[in-house]
Symmetry: D2
Subunit: 439 residues, 4 copies
């Protein structure tokens, strides 16, 4: 198998794919990919064609010999694959639009990953990912599943609990956080490392190192200075309150804003909706423009515009992770893996997001001890919501779904959970038809 | 010591005291109290006098020989006491009024036990209760501290962590829930027992038994029937949504309404405020009327009106607990005790509220295994908030206090936590002067 | 069902049965047993007949109306039973003889419960008890299984892990220890209670109470006094070294002598063998004499000689446990139950022996926190051996059996474990034929 | 500090020191040691002089500029050190002789690390290492303590629990096991990695990898083949029974032989004693010869004979660990660190030996989940013994010492523990004078 890797990309027609192609082409010396299969569903056929042709032009220009195939037959793509990358979205961006808008009607943040929107997405995705796992178990039992589909933590835990597939759940946020800190310090990004503790999109940096030496206290001390805050604003889109940082004494992920600043974010979402649409709507616009560009037969590289789509460092995270596995690099990556006591006060069978040493035998988390009491409450609350969501998706039980949604900390009123769930079930037909009341 | 018990009541001038007196007099055959010391602070002197005289009249009428003494000297009251009951309120009901109103200005529920109001109360109370503990350690090291002061779970945990005093944290809610279920079933209350899992004011009944046989499934099945719902409405003031009950499959405590129905309760609090004042204001009115009655030299029994004050079964819970200890009854009581693995997925050193076997050597909890994932998230979130509050009170560190308050699940916006904290610190001078920013 | 209880006794032909009968007859007012089915295997037919006729004479003399039936058809006995008592011995006492003698050949203590002898017994018993459980699941799904068959902790854990049967594992040792302490103190046994922590035949009393007040320190202090030691010698057959007691600061069970005094006990076993046979041989002699007595048609009561058989308080423990369940007494009994965090530093899924509150819904252990480091090592070592034994019996895998036996702390040399296992497999044909090497 | 490292070696007069010197000289390019302080006690003065002069000759020949200083003033050596290496033996090899011989008188294996011998050594060492820690806290608070003094796991845990010193506990066994496997496979040692689970000298390899691919199953399959067994015999001095390996399915450390083959090892120790003395005696002979060689002014390199002393790879382990820290290599080393849930079923506060990623901020263990039930019993038993030993040494309480020693799985009779302890206390005067009976 050495020297002839087959990669299958489920959701290959995604606008992200060119970044992935670029990543593969850039690493051609260490990652001998001979076949790249892009697979999508009937509804995404046209996009898949455009992407595949662009990918082929990119490969041709870079002079790399690689078979790039498009197919609607998922089994064909998975058969004998070495790596299966999942980046699909059940129901496409149109579904995301509903995920975000329905909760807003109840003054609840939609949020397509950690919020009720992410709940709906998980409920649509889990049955499909488990179907894919059945196929991997049958057709490529030694393959690694690199999951990018959000909510990545929930999806990875569902796979871990309900299949035998070797899975690594990935997210681009930790890489982005490290790069932002490096920018802030004006140092090369390789010199900055950090200890992450938490869950996907719910991760905290509890220690940050420059050349291996902790700089957390120094960073917190400077956080109040105007000059630093201006710099942060320029780099990322969120500056936390100084007293908040002094209380927390950790660096929260950007997604924490929905939990620590719920009212503000709700207002922003509502304003954003009034002034031209939700994030999903904007993204759809960008997508349309992207595919217009992709279709241009003269284009043979990833266009600049893709960066506005979000998901920066996605290619880097995915391909460097695959390379770490393939080349047995034993490198430090932040990956979603089974907890098994890594964080002692989160459930043993939970999937967490942690610094792992990644090599040919997979990702092994560095032990983290206890999550500090400052964050243990929220982490446990979110993880309980996630586990309830998986139970709901696997059982198809309406009341389990209701329990899950109402356990999400962004929902403060049970009747909202019920109304939102009922609207989701109607709006996301037929994907959620399997959810039923049991007698 | 047998046959000559001394009980000290800190906050003896409370309007609840007559119920306590009644309880002691009713149990005179099994509980040989020879001295009852009522102690209060200078500001509560007049009330203390009224209560003490009423208590003496009650004792006289019932023909029980007991010395009932009033004092402002806490040390004198504690010296050689066998039981110390704490039911004081630092800052009196006037403070509670602020506890409830300040958060409301930020659209946050006040709630004087589980909410931000309870946080302020805990911050005022912990330094005082630890002072009392120092005195008990010195003057009555074998005494049992029966704590009723709210938030009882937090206060009890503070005592457990920061003193050597033997403490039992008590609450009247579990007794009340059991009595309500018995009423609902039209059976005598002794036939109904239940398995409680959770925290003070955050407790769930996960199994309920009639004569030792589980009736939870039957109860849930009937929950949807109109007739049962009418009965529930008549007995308690809260009827949960049928789908909520089918999702949760446990009986929540009345205080859970603030968490599962936050928006509704916020609206109620606001309306209540507009239409005649907060709960604290109403209670103050009742109190004034109560003390008018108490002062009547012809009154020698607990007046009916006291029942409207809240805190039903208070006397029963406290005195029957003391009797269980004194008489080594090994009875089942729901008490706040150190977790030590009773609920495996809550912190080992947390105080929880659980069914305990109570005898001369104290309260030993019946093991509960894991808290179900349906409730584990909220319980951990609330417990983390509680532990952060204790850390804040013991250290006096402003940023710890800020972290604690913002970790309370009823607060959804960090800036609200900061504003509310800052208002508390100002409004509750001098009680909270010890909270300072550390450099 | 009330008022008409059916009890099935598997191994009804045991010499212990008269004690059980006596217990049932003595409790006739609180335990309305209408049918008692004694079941045994073909090989025990004659003994079963003798016991049944004696039991009928005992019932007749006491004037209690109860159907006492003998059968070789286990299914008939189990059908609709309310309680199933298991007290059988696969292979009879002849097998016990081998259990004890084979290890002795290798200078290893046999010990039929905690030692290699108990391993062989468990390997013979687990397949049978699980067969019985299948029948209970089918024919009497609501029945309680009261297990007395040794090694009781292992058997109960096997049932808990591999069936749905409601089981309570029982042992007469804790009752005996409490009675001995009461004798030592010259007080009535009801006044002495204790906190047991550990496993079946591996239990320590870490607190002992007289009328609810701890007397452990006082006991330890007097332990060195000659007068007390003489008294202990008269009551029980073991006096521990004073320094041992000062080191341990707990009261060990009599079976601990095999672990803390291995060499001494080995010598004793060897001497005993030379001077007239192993314990099993002696017991067989007593048994022969007992059955000679039982067969006497003039005997209508439990003969005095039975007390020499061992197993004192057996009847009391079993029948009072059944009565606690039936009458929902919520009494404190020491029972083998699933750990579930009761002892935090033993496996969550282990069966432990602990103080439980026993009522109609079963036995709920009082939480114990951590087992002290003084005993945590040995307890974990023995529990690991027990769990390996269950795995071996359920899988029938030779190497798992070998791992289990060599993990028993009484075996100090792997080659001994292998030789003993191989001899067991040959000697206990056909009972252990199911143990095979897997390729 | 960069580029000018000061290393202090406590027990610098040890015969091992030349290996350490060699290691430092070999790594001169990556480890800029400018000062090496060898410190020893008065009694070891002459050896210290010999070693120091040899070290200076070695440095001179290799052309490395480094100050090599000898001192009896430990404080001077520690002051401003960057790394403190402890390799001392309280009481010298003469004490080891007693450690090994006294238990043998009671038919108990001495064993100077995991056995009763190691207990005596720990009791002598802990007070001294904690004294050294006090000095490091005062004089070199940022220094890393690299502990080699055996029993390394116990000593490291004592330091972790009772000082603030940054400590890494080291052992040469894991490196040796990996090198042996590489030899067996005839591959370069860099290609073999392994997952260790356990304690110092009580470690198991549960997964072994060649180029990152697990080869455990393949190894176990071949274990029965004669050719492989011959090869193993040639490489290491222990070949395990094939059935043992098939039962355990892990690779035990050489020290496990004392636990799985106790009788055999006891016989070996006794025979060895009769035929020319204990291991300690032999080592003393080698030592005398070594120092004769070291004193030769023409010698300027590590002599071949040192390899027979034991402790192979010692230099490699120590210096490569220091280099990993200094150069922030984030390399995988097997180090003794605080558990903190790395192995979920060992105590949270225990020191374990695990694969760690080592860089400038220390050693972070890779999470290990649960220790399999096959090894969990023995590991817990040994760890309990270790923790009791630390308690005994810190308290100086005779009965705690007695409890500790009798909890060692190599002792099977309490009276032996007492006799051995009493002999130790007499033989090791004045080092163990601090152990007293408390009243």
């Amino acid at each position: 198998m050495e020297g002839k890797l087959k990669i299958a990309v489920i959701g290959g027609g995604s606008s992200y794919t060119p970044e992935l192609i670029e990543g593969i082409l850039n690493r051609k010396d260490e990652l001998p990919v001979s076949e790249l299969w892009l697979v999508d569903v009937e509804e995404g056929k046209e996009k898949l064609r455009i992407i595949t042709e662009l990918a082929q032009r990119m490969a041709a220009r870079s002079g790399v010999e690689i078979k790039i195939a498009a197919t609607l037959d998922r089994r064909e793509a998975i058969r004998n694959a070495d790596y299966v990358i999942t980046q699909f979205r059940v129901g496409f961006l149109k579904a995301r639009e509903k995920d975000e808008l329905i909760p807003l009607n109840y003054n609840v943040i939609g949020q397509e990953t950690t919020g009720p929107g992410g709940f709906a997405k998980a409920m649509r995705t889990i049955p499909v990912i488990l179907e894919i796992c059945r196929e991997i178990e049958e057709l490529a039992p030694d393959a690694w599943l690199i999951n990018f589909t959000n909510p990545s933590g929930i999806i990875t835990e569902a796979v871990k609990k309900h299949s035998k597939v070797r899975v690594l759940g990935l997210c681009n946020i930790p890489v982005g956080m490290l790069k932002d800190i490096a920018k802030l310090l004006s140092v090369s990004s390789g010199r900055v490392t950090a200890e992450f503790v938490g869950l996907n999109h719910m991760n905290y940096i509890r220690e940050v190192y420059l050349d291996g030496i902790s700089i957390m206290d120094a960073l917190l001390e400077q956080y109040g200075e105007e000059s630093l805050r201006e710099k942060i604003e320029a780099i990322s889109d969120i500056v936390w309150d100084l007293d908040f940082m002094k209380s927390l004494r950790m660096i929260p992920s950007p997604y924490h804003r929905y939990f620590y600043r719920t009212d503000t974010m709700l207002e922003e979402e509502k304003e954003s909706l009034e002034s031209g649409g939700s994030r999903a709507m904007k993204v759809q616009e960008i997508e349309r423009e992207l595919f217009r560009l992709y279709a241009d037969v003269n284009l043979a590289e990833k266009p600049k515009l893709l960066e506005e789509r979000g998901g920066a460092y996605y290619s880097e995270a995915a391909i460097s992770l695959i390379s770490a596995v393939y080349n047995n690099k034993n490198e430090n990556h932040v990956v979603n893996v089974r907890n098994e006591g890594t964080i002692s006060n989160l459930p043993f069978d939970a999937v967490i997001e942690a610094n792992c040493i990644v090599g040919r035998s997979g990702a092994k988390p560095l032990n983290l001890g206890m999550a500090d009491v400052r964050i243990a409450g929220l982490l446990n609350a979110v993880k309980a919501y996630e586990q309830l969501t998986i139970e709901a998706a696997v059982s198809g039980d309406y009341h389990k779904a209701l329990m899950a949604l109402s356990a999400n900390p962004l929902i403060h009123e049970f009747s909202d959970a019920k109304a939102i769930l009922d609207e989701f079930l109607t709006a996301h037909r037929p994907y959620l038809d399997y959810v039923r009341k049991r007698e």
